[in-house]
C-alpha cells in the first residue's frame, strides 16, 4: 500500500493520533502530559502546516495490545489518521507497528523500552525515538564497571523483559572485565522485596542491579533504602527508571542510584527553557518521554512541511535525511532501521543535601556518545538493514 510519494497532504489535513497509557502504570511517564507535549509541538506550528490544519486525536491504550490495535486500526482505516505518536508499552508498540505497516501509515514510538522494536520487529513504518534497553544496559553497566564496580548481583523480573535486560547487563559487565556473582529472579510483580534485598546485601557484590521496571523497581529501591544498601557501600543500579519514578521516591530513598537516561530537563539551556514551558502547562517537570514526544512531533511536522506530503515513506525518508538538533538531542539522527540514535546520559540521583528543589534530582555523570550507546547496525537483525 505504501505507494509512490504524492506531493500533497491527504484529506486536506495532517491528523496525529496520540495513543498511550492514560490511566495505568505508565501514566506518569507519558500519559496525559505527553498529549500536552504533543499539543505544544502543534501549537508551535500555529496549528497548521503548509496551510493545512493539524488535528489531534487521543486515546487510552490501557496497556493492552488488544485495545491499542483496535484503536489504531480504526484510526488509520476509518479516521484518516496520518501518524500515531506516544506508544508506551512495548507490546502495544509492536502490535501497532504491524498495523502501520499493513496500512502504510507512520508511527513514532516514544515510550517503549524494548530494543526489539527496531531489531526483529522493525518495519519501514515506524521510528523509535527516545531510548531502548540496549543503551540502558550498556550505559549504566559499562560505566559502573569502569568506575570499579567489578562484582555484580542482578535482581531480575521473571519474565521476557527482565530476562533480556539481565542478558544484556551480563554481556556488558563481562565484556568490561567485571563478573556477575549472582542473580535472583523475582515474580512479576512483587510488592515485597525484603528477602531479595537481604540476599543481594549478603552476596557482598559491589553492585546490585535491578533488571525490572515500574513499580517493581521503585519497590525494590524503597526496600533497599530501608535496609541501608547504598549506605553500606554497595552501589544500586536501576536499569529503567524515569524522572517521575525518582520524584515519587524522593531524593532521600533514591540518592546515589545510577541510571541511564536519554534526556534530563536540567541538562542544558534549551532543555531548561522548554521544560519551563512544559511545567507552566502541567505543573510537573517533563520526563525524557515527554521531551521525545515534543521533539519527534516537531521533526515530523518539519518533514511534512519540507516534502509537502503526509505520505509515510516520503516523510520518513525526509526525517532520516535530517539531523536532529533541538532541545532534545544534539546531532541525533534516525537510522534506516527506524532507530533514532543520540547521546545518552549516565546520571546519578542527588543526595537530599545537593538537591535544591523537588525536581532537582540528577547529576549528569557522563555523556555516552550515540555510537557507543545504541546497538550498531552491524549487529542488527532488522530486514531493512540486513537485506542490503
Amino acid at each position: 500500500m505504501a505507494g509512490a510519494a504524492q506531493a500533497e497532504i491527504s484529506n486536506d489535513m495532517v491528523k496525529i493520533g496520540y495513543l498511550a497509557d492514560m490511566s495505568g502504570t505508565y501514566r506518569d511517564l507519558a500519559g496525559p502530559n505527553g498529549l500536552i507535549a504533543l499539543e505544544m509541538a502543534v501549537a508551535d506550528f500555529g496549528g497548521q502546516v503548509n496551510g493545512k490544519n493539524i488535528e489531534i486525536v487521543s486515546a487510552d491504550d490501557r496497556n493492552s495490545p488488544d485495545v491499542a490495535s483496535s484503536t489504531a486500526r480504526r484510526w488509520v482505516e476509518n479516521d484518516n489518521v496520518d501518524m500515531i505518536a506516544g506508544l508506551v508499552a512495548s507490546s502495544v508498540s509492536i502490535a501497532v507497528s504491524d498495523i502501520l505497516e499493513e496500512s502504510g501509515k507512520l508511527g513514532i514510538v516514544s515510550g517503549s523500552a524494548a530494543s526489539s522494536i527496531t531489531n526483529e520487529h522493525c518495519t519501514p513504518n515506524h521510528i523509535h525515538y527516545v531510548y531502548d534497553t540496549y543503551p540502558l544496559a550498556n550505559g549504566t553497566a559499562s560505566a559502573i564497571v569502569k568506575e570499579g564496580g567489578k562484582t555484580w548481583f542482578i535482581l531480575t523480573a521473571d519474565y521476557a523483559f527482565g530476562h533480556a535486560l539481565e542478558a544484556d547487563v551480563t554481556r556488558v559487565v563481562e565484556a568490561n572485565g567485571g563478573e556477575v556473582i549472582g542473580t535472583i529472579r523475582h515474580p512479576f510483580p512483587t510488592p515485597d522485596f525484603s528477602s531479595f534485598i537481604l540476599q543481594a546485601q549478603g552476596s557482598g557484590a559491589d553492585v546490585v542491579a535491578l533488571a525490572n521496571a515500574g513499580a517493581d523497581t521503585t519497590n525494590a529501591i524503597t526496600t533497599a533504602g530501608e535496609f541501608g544498601l547504598t549506605q553500606s557501600g554497595q552501589t544500586l543500579a536501576a536499569l529503567l527508571l524515569f524522572l517521575t519514578d525518582v520524584h515519587a521516591l524522593g531524593a532521600e530513598a533514591a540518592q546515589g542510584i545510577q541510571l541511564t537516561t536519554g534526556w534530563y530537563w536540567d541538562m542544558n539551556a534549551d532543555a531548561r527553557a522548554w521544560s519551563d514551558r512544559f511545567m507552566e502547562e502541567t505543573g510537573v517537570r517533563p520526563t525524557m518521554v515527554h521531551a521525545g514526544i515534543y521533539s519527534s512531533t516537531i521533526q515530523y511536522l518539519n518533514a511534512v512541511k519540507a516534502t509537502g506530503s503526509d505520505e509515510a515513506q516520503a516523510v520518513r525518508k525526509q526525517m532520516i535525511a535530517t539531523p536532529i538538533n533541538d532541545m532534545f538531542a544534539t546531532n541525533g539522527r534516525i537510522r534506516e532501521d527506524g532507530r533514532m540514535v543520540h547521546d545518552m546520559y549516565l546520571a546519578q540521583v542527588k543526595t537530599p543535601a545537593e538537591s535544591t528543589n523537588e525536581w532537582d534530582l540528577y547529576n549528569i555523570v557522563r555523556t555516552i556518545p550515540a555510537e557507543e550507546a545504541f546497538r550498531p547496525l552491524s549487529e542488527s537483525q532488522c530486514p531493512l538493514v540486513t537485506s542490503k
Binding site: M22, S23, S64, S70, S90, S91, I94, A95
Partner: protein
Amino acid sequence: MSNSVNPADIHKTMLDQQKSEHRRRLILNLVLLALLMVAPMVMYPVFLMKILCFALFAVAFNLLLGFTGLLSFGHAAFLASGAYTTGYLLTTFSGLSTELGIIAGTLVATLLGLGFALVAIRRQGIYFAMITLALSQLVFFFFVQSSFTGGEDGLHGIPRGQFLGLIDLNDNLNMYYFVLAVFLAGYLLVQRIVDSPYGQVLKAIKQNEPRAISLGYNVNRYKIIAFVISAGLAGLAGSMKTVVFQLASLNDAHWHMSGEVILMTLLGGTGTLLGPVVGAAFVVNLEYQLSQGPLADWVDAILGTIFVLTVLMFQSGIVGQVQKFMKKNIG
C-alpha cells in the same frame, strides 16, 4: 427425562407459555440477526467483531453462571489458551488454514476446561471460584514464562488467512461475516443447550442442588459437562479474537479478563440468553468511548461504579430489567 408427576393441565399451560415465549424469542432473534447483518455498513467492522468475540465469551460464561449457578473466576485461562494456540499454530505453520487453527484452539481450551472442572467441581460457592482463579493464575504464569507466547510482548502478525481456502479473511467485511457466523453458531448452541432436557437439569441444579441430587441426578457430571462446554466456547471466542486482531497477548490470560466477563454478564443480565451479548456490547463500547475522551483516567472508576449500582439496584441486569418491564406492561 423422567418427570411425569405433573398433572396434565398444568403441563399444558406451561407448554403454551413456553410456546409463546419461544415465538417471541424467535422474532427477537430475527430482528437482531437483521441488525447484525447490516451493522458493518454503518459501524466500523473491526469494532463490531470485537463486540461479537466478547459477546461469545460472555455467552459461554453465562452458561455456567446464569444457568448452572457456578461462578468461575478463571475463564480468562480458556480465552487465552484458545487465543495462544490458534496464534501459535497459524504463525508457525503457514500452510494451516484458519478454520483448523480455530478448531485447534477451541479443542485445547476444552481440554483445559475438563482439567479445571475435575479439580474445581469438588467444591462449591466461593471455594469453587477461588480454585478456578488459582488454576487460571497457574495458566497465566505458564503463558508469561513460555517462550512460544512471546511473554510480555505477545504474539504478533498472526495471518488471518483464508476460510476453507476460498474466502479471503483479510477483507474486513468477509472477516466480519465469518465472525458473525461463528458467534451465531455458539449462541444458538447455548440456546439449544438451555432449552434441552439437559439444560433443565442445569437449571434445577442452580435452583436447588440437594433436591437435584435427591431426584437422582449425578450433579457433578452435569456440572462438569457444562463447565467443559463453557470453556470450549470461551476458547473459541479467544481463537476468533486472535484471528481478528492478528495478535494474542497476556491481557487475555490476566485475571482482569475473568473479572471483565463477570461484569459483562452481570450488567447484561445473568440467566438470560441475550444479557451477556448486550452486556459485552455495552462494556466494550463504554470502554472505547471513555478512552477517547477526557475521561480516559476514569474508565475503571466509572465501570466500577456501574458494577456496584447494578449489583445493588438492578440485579437482573439490562435485559432482565427490560423483560420485567415488558411483562408488567405488555403481559
